[in-house]
Symmetry: C2
Subunit: 346 residues, 2 copies
DNA sequence: GGGGGCCGGGAGAGCGCTCTATGCCCCCGG
DNA sequence: CCGGGGGCATAGAGCGCTCTCCCGGCCCCC
């Protein structure tokens, strides 16, 4: 690539018009004589012109880029930083988020830049990145309830949208699921199957979503005549599901139905049950949460409460776009409804 | 954010020096009087200055951004496009690639923008994106051997580095694994365990890596006195591993060792074996490939041929950086050595 | 037939930064 | 005491684009 990239000036000269006219054609604004439009388009074709985005965004103050930030908790050690990305994507959830975000951005010729904010320095880097005008705003997916990044962004007045409602209120828009209803759906399914003895593996206490799923589940079970439901806390990982179910089974060997707060843990639950000689769903029915890819590949395939992650991620991108363009100024919360997907496990 | 972001000019005024001096301090070049440096730094602090990247890259013709492209095959239908991202990240492999890339980029204040090129339009978009100067170059991970993107990039003279050697030679640098040696390591392990009857689940024929892993495995088995090794072709997915193993087991019920060309398929292999009443590794030893996260979470944990994906990804980023900065002009191939990680499955 | 509005196009001023050319000042040698 | 040189800062010219004026011509209406 020795030859310089053609500029607006070159195209203008080629077409025999002014820079401004070419710019108008490129951006499709104002009325330009159709004949001249063709002339310009031809010149663009001939010169192989591609508008320089740096120059454009220098004046428009827009970049067409958004930061997609996966934000961790406090202070991840230096060594763990490299593994953070791999760990994050080990959960099929994030692939779906990326898919949803890209689905919205692509038709608009926008692009996501991937950032990880699992340490104080990394968080500062995110803020700096946005302040420098590298991206128009941030889509933040927190893996930890105490994530300080949202507050940092709000404080700096940077456009951002969160996945899930933050524990501490922050002046940012977010999307979320009606977790309580998700818990309800799981309970209704187990009740409908006639399960008498029911237990649940919840997510981490500190996570609001865990609490709500649990509340929805318990309230509904109570209404169905089962006021007491044993709970074991998990950490949304397969291993934690195994551990929680092992505990539950020791205390309640006669369990007939289990609700796990995500599919990964439900998979662990199934493993433990099978190893202990219980058949799923004949002896014990299992309901998962998320309807992620593991729900389908699990043995047996999991009945799961579907979280429309792609739609939620797309909505995040849409909200951010509206904030960036000034179409929306006040923070807003968009709530999605879960749905029960019945497979074999319950 | 109503107040305008401070500019170099503002800082210069605040510090009582010229724009150029502030620029020198910010970029740490040339000799600037230490006293004045402090003065400037103080002014930067006070004004909360952050250099505008668009303006900078307009003159430096560098962006500090690289495109991380996951490139598919031919023409994915419109509906599938959204799911492509999710499918891609369902393979733990990509999470590791992202981790390796970010590990290299971050210390240099560079960032990856995620792109998917699974349709002709999407490929054009990648080329356009780079030609517009949105990113300095591309890191390309192809999921399909016939991927036309590398040729497109080479033709346009855009800096790019590939993961894995392309089938059709292309004037681009790439990193790759010594796949043949990987196959050899798997064979040696099964031979050392005394497996007599051995079979293998290969990757797709069209993929060069599959061929080489298979060749290394077969050649080594032959040298060990087993000239005939049954093969079933898989597609690097869990389902395809299940299907392939089902076929193999039907034809060779007395199999004692299985080499699967990646961990996902090895997991499928283990599932089938367990369902058919075979114990792993007591009855049948299983060796996987990649040493991905599923290798550790699989039951039993998989003995696997480790592919240093993070290192390879980091090397891609480093090569791209060298190409972009003109430190390297001719394409180069960097080869990595696999390593056997012994767990329980073999 | 003349004036005002409107439409299509051009000129030029920046956007915020880098970097070259230039100038100032001080120190040193003759 | 003067000329020369080197360190350190400044001035200013762009980088490629958008966008606000502004101007010329045409149409329409009175």
């Amino acid at each position: 690539m020795n030859r310089q990239a053609p500029t607006l000036e070159d195209v203008a000269r080629e077409a025999g018009v002014s820079r401004a006219t070419v710019s108008r054609v490129v951006n499709g604004v104002r009325n330009v004589d159709p004949a001249i439009q063709d002339l310009v388009r031809l010149a663009i074709e001939r010169t192989g012109y591609a508008p320089n985005r740096a120059a454009r965004s220098l004046v428009t103050r827009r970049t067409g880029t958004v930061a997609l930030v996966v934000s961790g908790a406090g202070d991840t050690s230096e060594e763990e930083q490299n593994a953070f990305a791999a760990r994050v994507f080990a959960d099929p959830f994030f692939g779906r988020v990326v898919g949803g975000v890209v689905g919205f951005l692509r038709p608009r010729s926008m692009h996501p830049v991937l950032m990880f904010a699992e340490s104080p320095e990394a968080r500062q880097e995110v803020v700096r990145y946005l302040r420098q005008g590298n991206a128009d705003g941030a889509l933040v997916v927190s893996t930890h309830p105490d994530d300080p990044l949202p507050a940092l962004l709000a404080e700096a007045g940077l456009p951002a949208v969160l996945f899930a409602r933050p524990v501490r209120p922050v002046a940012l828009s977010h999307v979320d699921l009606a977790h309580w209803d998700g818990g309800r759906l799981a309970a209704e399914r187990l009740l409908a199957r006639g399960c008498r003895k029911v237990a649940t593996v919840s997510g981490p206490w500190a996570v609001a979503a865990s609490q709500e799923r649990l509340a929805g589940f318990r309230d509904t079970m109570a209404r169905g005549g089962h006021p007491y439901v044993p709970v074991a806390e998990g950490g949304f990982t397969l291993d934690s599901g195994v551990a929680a179910m092992t505990t539950l089974l020791a205390q309640h060997p006669d369990v007939e139905g289990v609700f796990a707060a995500n599919d990964l843990m439900a998979q662990g639950v199934c493993q433990v049950l099978r190893e202990r000689g219980r058949r799923v769903p004949e002896d014990v029915a299992v309901v998962g949460f998320d309807d992620s890819s593991v729900a389908a590949t699990c043995r047996p395939p999991l009945t799961s409460v579907r979280q429309p992650v792609e739609d939620m991620a797309a909505a995040m991108a849409r909200l951010l776009d509206e904030h960036v363009r000034g179409l929306r100024t006040d923070p807003v919360a968009v709530l999605f409804e879960p749905e029960l997907v019945v497979r074999e496990s319950a």
